[in-house]
Structures are given as C-alpha cells and as structure tokens.
C-alpha cells in the first residue's frame, strides 16, 4: 500500500475497517503532507486542522462503537471554496467574499457528514469558478504538482492539485463547462461531472445555474463511485434536483462488464488537438477495442457552436447570479461610497477581479434590451441542437470517448487572451450544455511528463454504466495511481 496520503478511499476504508490505521492517523498524515507541500502547490485557501482532527476523532469513536457509516467514514475530503460549510470561510476565491463565513451547510456537505467524511480545507479556484487555470483566484495561483510552472487547470484547480499532491484523499469540485474534468486531466486524477440534477446544487455558489454541477475528484474510478454514492440523490431544497432511484455505483463496477459500444466523435479530433494527447486517447480507444467493445464513429455536428452558446448562457446567468454581491448584506463594501448607487458601483469594482467583470459585462449585454433574441434565445435554441446531437449518438453507442483537454497543462500566464482561455473548454462544454455525465480518466503522460486525460461521456443518469466503462480502463492501467515528484 502507498503512503496513507496517496492511498485510495477503497484501500483506506479497508485499512480502517481492519484496524490497521485510524482516521486520526490518516488525517494527521494528510495534514503533515499538506504542511510539507502546500507552500509549493498553493491548493488551499484555508484549512482548519483542529476541526479536521476533531471530526477524525469522532469517526474513530464511531468505528470503535461499531457504528461506522461506510467507506467514506474517517476519510479527509477537501472542498472547493464555493461549497458552503457551516462556520467555515466561503470565499469563491474572490476579494468580494474574503471575510465571509457561511452560516449554513451545502447539501453535499451535509451528505458527506452523514457518510462520516472528514470535511477538510477550502480549495482554491478561479474566482467564482470562472476560468480554466486557477490563475483568476484573487488570492494566489495554484500550481500543477507535476510542473510547478504550469497551471493545474480550472476552475477547480485547487481540488485537482490538492488531490494530486497528496493533500487530501478525495476532493469536491464544481463543473460548469469542464471545471472538474479539465483540471482532473491536467493533474492526473479522476474527475466526474454528474448528470445535471443528480447532485444537489444547494450551497454551491452559483456561476451558471443551468450548467453547474458538483462532482468528485478521486484517485480511481472506484473512489469516484464511492464518493458519488454519498453525494447523489434528490434534495427538496434544489428544484432542479431529480427524483430518481440511486443505484449502487460501486457494485455496478463489477456487475456491468460490457462489451460496450463506444462512439468517437470526429469533431473532437480536429485542429488544435495536441498530437501527444491524440495518441494517448487513441491508445485508450484501442484498449476498448481489444476488450471487445464496438468502436463507432459518431457525429456531433453542432460542436463548433458549443463555445459560443456556452459563453452566452453562462455569462447571462452569471451576470444575474452575481448581482447579489453588492456590498449590502455581506461581502466587500467600498469604504468611500457617497450614495447607494455609488456603493454598488465601487463595492463591485473593488470586489470582483477582471475575468468576473468581463463575464458580467458580456452577460449583461446579451440579456439587454434589443439583444435578448439575437443572443440568449438563439443560444438556448442551439443548445437544444447540441443536446439533440448527443441523444442521437446514444441511439448507436453507450458512451462517447474524447480527449478531455486539447493540450496538457500549459505554462502560467500563457493564455492572457480570454478567448484563448475559453477555447480550453472546447471538449468539455457540450456535456454541460446537454446536461450529461462526463468523466475524465488519466490515460498517459506527454513526453515532458505532463498528465493526459480522456473523457468518457455517458447517457443521462446512467452514471453506473459510465463508471463501469471508465473503471474497465482505469483498473487495467496504473496512470491514475502515479504520483508527482514534489
């Protein structure tokens, strides 16, 4: 077994059950590792060691009393700093919320507590989850543990980097246009974006409400299944949460054996795709072919419009969602406002970073009088076509396999131009627009030693199948178990 801080949930839950370790020991190991590497990785906005150790002690006491809550009991799970934890800071990596302390728990936080997890730390992100590199954090830029000069991806860069660096056993992120899958690919971890509506958004700071979804980062597909099991399910506080039976995802990894029909969309293998990424993904395709899967070419003809549709819908929704950050009830308030309107103008100007401002402006524009039909309404219609493309493909295949990111991790500061940054999400955006589940699984390294991830896209609410397909690959390879030299 690897060191505690690089072990999987599956390994650790066995070790805990067998009495080979305790949650306090595990949590101490994670804290020690964090203290050793965090100065270089900068994955956290804050962490509370005393609080984590108290939760760990409570877990050990439960276990001693024979009341263990399951495989997550006693496991330190890091939380992206857009998910509410009672009594802990909730900053969205924004100056706007630098001093905000949440008076309530997100539903996923509550669910993790019910599963016995040790809620551990607040993980860095692009401010308000807007970005693909975590460079937009108002506090600090998180580094890629595989190359500290490179970005971890984003917006859940802190969640991906912390896990890759051994600073947590699993983490939660949120994915609006690829914010879980892309950093997972860039940091060599598994990242799952569930079907829209499977996991409650209550307590997740909204970026784009119709696209946001919380999901896990883990060291294996099996761990993703374990974590999803804990956080999925209907929540009466989220009107978009779906009422469906939640299957046993971990059991499905063993019971669902394929062979499957796997679709390869040609639109995802064109211009802009790094040849090393293309080669790694092709190898994964060959793996499935060899295990007897049927590999089919499929077409998602509206793919090229995805980025445009996404940046209209996401910015429109965010311009409205972020109106509440006005310096009135909480958050940053400008010290020199002369009247209420001035207070709004200045508090928001001082509290938001440039990318957030850019998106608010774009979103306000596309909704403004005279432009709504040309932009927002049209984007919603093209969204329908994009969604239909996927559903048509699923007439023929069980899952779709693509690269997660067109390139491995890029250097910090390499994408100063917003549009270039937006194009990082070209392979992940369609999944959010269609509301589908998507998972990024490590599938190799570049010649420069940078992680490469592949994306599997599943059918709505069929996470059990998606995870089984991903697990077939992941369990046959050791990519996801490799660790960086830090």
């Amino acid at each position: 077994m690897p060191p505690l801080h690089f072990s999987t949930i599956a390994e650790l839950s066995d070790a805990l059950a067998a009495g080979k370790t305790t949650s306090v020991d595990l949590t101490r190991a994670v804290i020690a590792r964090t203290q050793a590497v965090e100065e270089r990785v900068k994955a956290f906005n804050s962490y509370d060691t005393a609080d984590a150790l108290a939760q760990a002690a409570a877990s050990d006491a439960r276990r001693a009393a024979g009341l263990s809550l399951g495989p997550l009991d006693g496991i330190p799970v890091g939380i992206k700093d857009v998910i509410a934890v009672t009594g802990q800071p909730l900053t969205a990596s924004s100056k706007m919320l630098a001093n905000f302390v949440s008076p309530y728990d997100a539903t996923v936080t509550e669910k993790l507590r019910k599963a016995g997890a040790v809620i551990w730390g607040r993980l860095n992100l692009d401010e308000f989850a807007m970005g693909s590199s975590t460079e937009n954090s108002a506090f600090h830029t998180t580094r890629n543990p595989y190359d500290l000069e490179r970005v971890p991806g984003g917006s859940s860069g802190g969640s991906a980097a912390a896990l890759a660096a051994g600073e947590a056993i699993a983490t939660l992120g949120s994915d609006t246009g690829g914010s879980i899958r892309q950093p997972a690919a860039l940091c060599n971890v598994v990242g799952l974006k569930p079907t829209y509506g499977l996991v409650s958004r209550y307590g997740l700071i909204a970026f784009a409400s119709s696209l946001d979804q919380i999901g896990p980062f883990t060291r294996s597909v099996e761990d993703a299944a374990i974590t999803l099991q804990a956080i999925a399910g209907h929540d009466e506080r989220d009107s978009t949460s779906v009422r469906i039976e939640i299957p046993d995802y971990r059991a499905a990894l063993r019971t669902k054996k394929g062979p499957w029909r796997i679709g390869i969309p040609r639109e995802y293998f064109g211009e802009g795709l790094d040849p090393e990424v293309a080669a790694a993904v092709e190898k994964a395709v060959s793996f499935y072919e060899k295990m007897g899967c049927e590999i089919k070419n499929v077409s998602l003809p509206h793919t090229e419009y995805g980025v445009g549709v996404y940046y209209i819908i996401a910015t429109a929704e965010c311009s409205s969602n972020l109106s509440r950050y006005d310096g009135v009830r909480y958050g940053h308030r400008s010290a020199d406002a002369k009247d209420i309107v001035d207070l709004y103008f200045k508090s928001r100007a001082e509290g938001f970073g440039p990318e957030v401002k850019r998106r608010i402006i774009l979103g306000t524009y596309v909704l403004s009088s005279g432009y709504y039909d040309a932009y927002y309404l049209r984007a919603q219609k093209v969204r329908t076509l994009i969604r239909q493309d996927f559903l048509n493909a699923y007439d023929e295949v069980d899952a779709i396999l693509t690269p997660t990111s067109p390139t491995p991790a890029f250097k910090r500061g390499a994408k100063a131009d917003p549009l270039a940054m937006y194009l990082c999400d070209v392979y992940t955006i369609g999944v959010n627009l269609a509301g589908l589940p998507g998972i990024s699984v490590p599938c190799g390294f570049s010649s420069g030693g940078l992680p490469i991830g592949m994306q599997l896209i599943g059918q709505p609410f069929k996470e059990a199948d998606l995870l089984a397909i991903a697990h077939a690959y992941d369990s046959a390879h050791d990519w996801s178990r490799r660790t960086p030299n830090l």
């Binding site: 008076p103 090229e304 445009g308 909480y330 209420i340 928001r348 402006i361 932009y375 549009l419």
Partner: protein, 96 residues
C-alpha cells in the same frame, strides 16, 4: 457591421452596477469584441422551429408544502453584514 459594434460599455456597466476604469473599458471592449465575433457563428445555425432549452431535464411542479420552519437568528443573519444598527443593515441614505 456586426451587432457587437454597438456594445456600449458605459450603458452595460451602468446596468451591471460596475464601475470600470477607462483602461478597463478599452481593454474589455476589445476582448469582448473578440468573443462576440466568435459568437457571431451562431447566426449560421438554422434554428427555425427549434424550441429553446432552459433546463436540460425539465420537470414540472417542483414545490414544497406551505409549512413554516425556523430561519436564522438575527445574529446569524447579520453576522456577515458590513454595517448594522438596531438589528438592521445600514446603507447610505436611499432617496426614492
């Protein structure tokens, strides 16, 4: 001429209640023009007869019964308030 040539950044920033510096105005205008040019592609798509998607999986009639449950204490409600007095939030005098 495309639609975004008339992105009047002052008007939009006013609607968004966002003070922008002259430098930001210049920079954002140029950057957003780039993005909007990319977005212009959507005009090529034939959307006649296509219904808009507001929700990927629309469901109807999601509601709760009218049962009152306890809320936040005043202390918790105002805990993050930048300025408070008499259990209320203080704002600059609002002239209606």
């Amino acid at each position: 001429m495309s639609a975004h040539d008339d992105l009047n950044i002052d008007r939009i920033a006013n609607l968004a209640r966002l003070a922008l510096t002259p430098e930001e105005k210049v920079k954002f205008s140029a950057q957003l023009a780039d993005v909007l040019t990319n977005i212009e592609k959507l005009k090529q798509v034939d959307v006649t007869g296509v219904e808009p998607t507001a929700h990927a999986f629309p469901i109807y009639n999601v509601w709760a019964d009218d049962v009152a449950t306890p809320g936040l204490s005043v202390e918790a409600a105002l805990r993050n308030a930048p300025e408070k007095r008499d259990n209320m939030i203080v704002v600059p005098k609002v002239v209606e």
